[in-house]
């Protein structure tokens, strides 16, 4: 019963977050500074999601060669930068992870 209550509250909260600005009437203008700030949201948020996964090993910063996730991530970044292809980035990144795992 509690789990269902949690699910319903989470659904309502999450939907409210998504609909918050989208449902504002068109004549409402957001402040200039806010609009300029929003310009950087996708790059900032989407990057912040993956950097800890590459740079941290068991919660500790690791820039060593033994951090094969960092090495594979660099390969994936290069693929994404050069080709911008989602599937190729994921496939080559996973392949690189296995290769580096064997090497080091």
């Amino acid at each position: 019963m509690t789990v269902w209550l949690i699910i319903l509250c989470m659904s309502a909260a999450t939907f409210a977050q998504r609909a918050s600005f989208l449902l504002l009437p068109d004549h409402v203008r957001l402040p200039t500074l806010l609009r300029r700030a929003l310009h950087y949201v996708p790059a900032a948020v989407l990057t912040a999601i993956w950097t800890p996964e590459l740079l941290l090993q068991k919660g500790v910063l690791s820039l060593a060669l033994g951090n094969e996730r960092l090495l594979a991530g660099i390969v994936a970044i290069a693929v994404a930068w050069r080709f911008g292809a989602t599937f190729a980035t994921i496939a080559i990144g996973l392949l690189a992870l296995h290769v580096f795992d064997r090497l080091f």
Partner: protein, 200 residues
């Protein structure tokens, strides 16, 4: 999920109703730890703070659309459709077919997501950990974020946010992500001012 004391039906309902992976992972962890319901809902809210920003930043592209379409976009406002949409329309907000394009991404993403969750619930932990498939998640976010770095202001915002996320990793309730977003956005806005550069 099963180990966390959540039935497959509850997990599937959460997947369809909440439709937010990071919040679900956080909630399942907290339910397993026996956290109070209020704490779990607040944690999910914090993990999803970026959705406010997505909602605000995507809003101008859907000006003039009907309430029904805005509700559909709202429900489907998840990372992948959002990122792909802005890759295409970010530099030409007046191009036609925005809702159709968004829906064209959002529907297959929804189907794949729900099918994958269902498969995960059925298979459980039978997929070998040696395949390292968990690494596909950060790779997907690399694929989404790197093409957005079209100018140096974007790079400054992304690098600042990325480093902050690493440094603030230990904060509870995944607050590090919200903090990193704010630092990255502030860095972009400040760089714009000091470099006297125009965002593209």
């Amino acid at each position: 999920m099963a180990a966390a004391g959540i039935s497959p039906l509850e997990a599937m309902a959460m997947s369809v109703l909440v439709y937010a992976g990071a919040a679900m992972l956080a909630a399942v962890q907290l339910i397993a730890e026996g956290a109070p319901a209020m704490v779990i809902v607040v944690a999910a809210f914090v993990v999803n703070l970026r959705l406010f920003m997505y909602s605000a930043s995507i809003r101008p592209y859907f000006a003039g659309e009907s309430l029904a379409r805005r509700l559909i976009v709202s429900y489907n406002l998840v990372d992948n459709p959002y990122a792909l949409f802005l890759q295409r329309f970010g530099t030409r907000p007046d191009a036609p077919g925005k809702f159709e394009y968004f829906a064209g991404i959002a529907v297959p993403v929804w189907i794949c997501w729900q099918a994958t969750v269902a498969a995960g619930l059925l298979l459980g932990n039978q997929l070998p950990a040696a395949w390292k498939l968990d690494f596909a998640a950060p790779l997907a976010f690399i694929a989404m974020s790197i093409p957005l770095l079209r100018d140096r202001l974007m790079v400054i915002a992304a690098v600042s946010a990325g480093l902050t996320a690493v440094l603030a990793h230990g904060l509870p309730l995944r607050l590090g992500l919200a903090l990193a977003a704010m630092v990255g956005i502030a860095a972009g806005v400040l760089a714009e001012r000091f470099l006297k550069a125009e965002p593209k």
